[in-house]
Amino acid sequence: MKRIICLVLTVILSAVLFTGCGKKQQNALVYFLNFKPESAAVYEELARKYEEEKGVKVKVVTAAANTYEQTLKSEIAKTEAPTIFQVNGPIGYNSWKDYCLDIKDSKIYSYLTDKSLAIKDGDGVYAVPYVVEGYGIIYNNAIMDKYFGLKSRQQKVNSVEEIKNFATLKIVVDDMTKHKSELGIDGVFASTSLSSGEDWRWQTHLLNIPLFYEYKSTEEGKDPTLSLLDAKEIAFKYEQNYKKIFDLYTENSATVKNLLGSKSVADSMAEFALSKAAMVQNGNWAWSQISGVKGNTVDANDIKMLPIYTGIEGEENQGICIGTENYFAINKNVSEEKRKASLDFLDWLFSSETGKKYVTEKLGFITPFNTFSESETPNDPLAREINRYLNDKETTVVPWIFTAFPSENFKKETGSALLDYVQGSKTWDEVKQTVVDKWKSERK
């Protein structure tokens, strides 16, 4: 008898020990693993709104910056796995394809204005982009006006509109550096942030341009992203152009080269917002960062965007880089009920009045869906610039082909090599070699 009591006691004791861990949450049909930390609060509000309207509970979990893959990896192994998750393009799809549901019959896919944007594999459609973004060189027009009003400036280029290629950009930038005290800036470009995890603007976004030109016309009529995706090796033909623009950034920077390894993206956006720098390479998502800086001195109407010129032939007609690396996928390993609920949620988000209002006003997304009318686009200065370039007949935008870069590790190694280069511990040839070698070894 005693023995039984003992056993029962033990079981209860151990049970008590572990109850804390397994606290049951009310089961949510939709579990959305969010990629954008800056939008976390909005998504949670949306989840509440959706529950009010439709009575379906939505669970939103946001991965901290730069940890999406980690979070997804551990969350998806759980019994309560995410039902909606995100992949960052064809490469991301490749690593998660065992989890992606075929959504070719879904409403969200049918809304897509340009069906070719979705990620397809064979007959199926496995991920749908939900936001179009663009990046270029953001500049503060007030500082540019001040510069062009200077009497002592160079006389070759007389307005921002005349900057149409790398040569003119360089003339202006070099001369601005000479006059930086008169302009009240620390440097023309905000810090080229190269600390770990903060170097994506260079190892991903900037590298997109030379590789786009290399793969622009490899095969007639073939999409450059697909050509790049098939590339086992790259020649890195335009490495000198990559160097040119990177050197221009670092030599006319608000921070001396040796300290760039400690700078973050937030640092450089703050420099721009405080008018300590006239230009910064970034995309329209940076608007919230610029406007969020305390004491920011940049007028919203002065924020404009230039294409990134690298001195490649024909760049006079080049626009900014526009594309997406944000694709929604539905987890196929969850119950039918959950899959349907997830698709319904996405449908609601991008087609209902409430959903659309949140998407344009609070999330600030320019979407690739036909459910949004012309007037339903976000109205921040950078989004306006994206729309301007999208509708500009004279220039052609550069697509985001970096979604075909072989791996995260490839980008990371490239970023490390760039840091070594600015600190003088690597030559440019070694940087070039790193890019070429890592491409080959990571592509396997």
Binding site: C6, S14, A77, D98, N258, G261, S262, E408, D420, K426
Partner: protein
Amino acid sequence: MKSLKRYFPVFVMPTLVAFLIAFAVPFVLGLFLSFTEFRTVSDAQFVGFLNYLKIFTQDATFLNSLWFTVKFAVVSVITINFFAFIFALLLTRDVAGTKVFRTVFFMPNLIGGIVLGYIWQLIINGVLFRFGYSITSDATYGFWGLIILMNWQMIGYMMIIYIAGLSNIPTDIIEASKVDGAGWFTTLFKITIPSCMPSITRCLFLTITNSFKLFDQNLALTAGAPGGRTRMVALDIYETFYGRIGFEGIGQAKSVIFFLIVAAVSLTQLILTRRKEVEI
């Protein structure tokens, strides 16, 4: 005795269950996963020793990190124990205020590694900026930054253990040695140090294992920059596992090798120093 046996499950069961769930099961599972290829822990496929092979053929980062870790461990184990022992000697003297100082020296140990890492990054960068450098300018800065950080954090803890050891030495032996005419140095090396060998064993064990397994501080201070040259093994494993798609099994295999190395080093140390312990 018999009744004690009967209560065995009551006392041991909860801990045993916790030990099984939190240690034994993950350990065995981890060992198993190192022989498989997997994306998430629930979809593993057996590949034999392939992962172990790949560590040395496909991926040069492991050996570099291991070498960096060994260098770090040697330097930090020596410096931490040296300074901790000196502080313990100073703070076991009959001087007013030693309690306050003991508390002050112990305090850094209460701060989490990530926070410490960022604090020291600010401090070190603050100094290096004046000369136009930052902590990532060269791997040497990162190395010494880590040493300083670890010393700052661990000295207080080790000091407390040494103090406990020192205050356990019976005063009569020390008096006896004085009567025999032993000077301060002779007393230190012939009486004090041999008598606190148990503390030394413990401190060496703690510092060796902690130095090898260092992760948070490394992540926050340099995150491996520049170019992964300040990346220690724990961080390398983490980055292999989480940062590279398709390398999960390799990361797992690395951690098994790492476990074997740390276990071998610390067990050897335990055996060696245990032998030197004397009964008082």
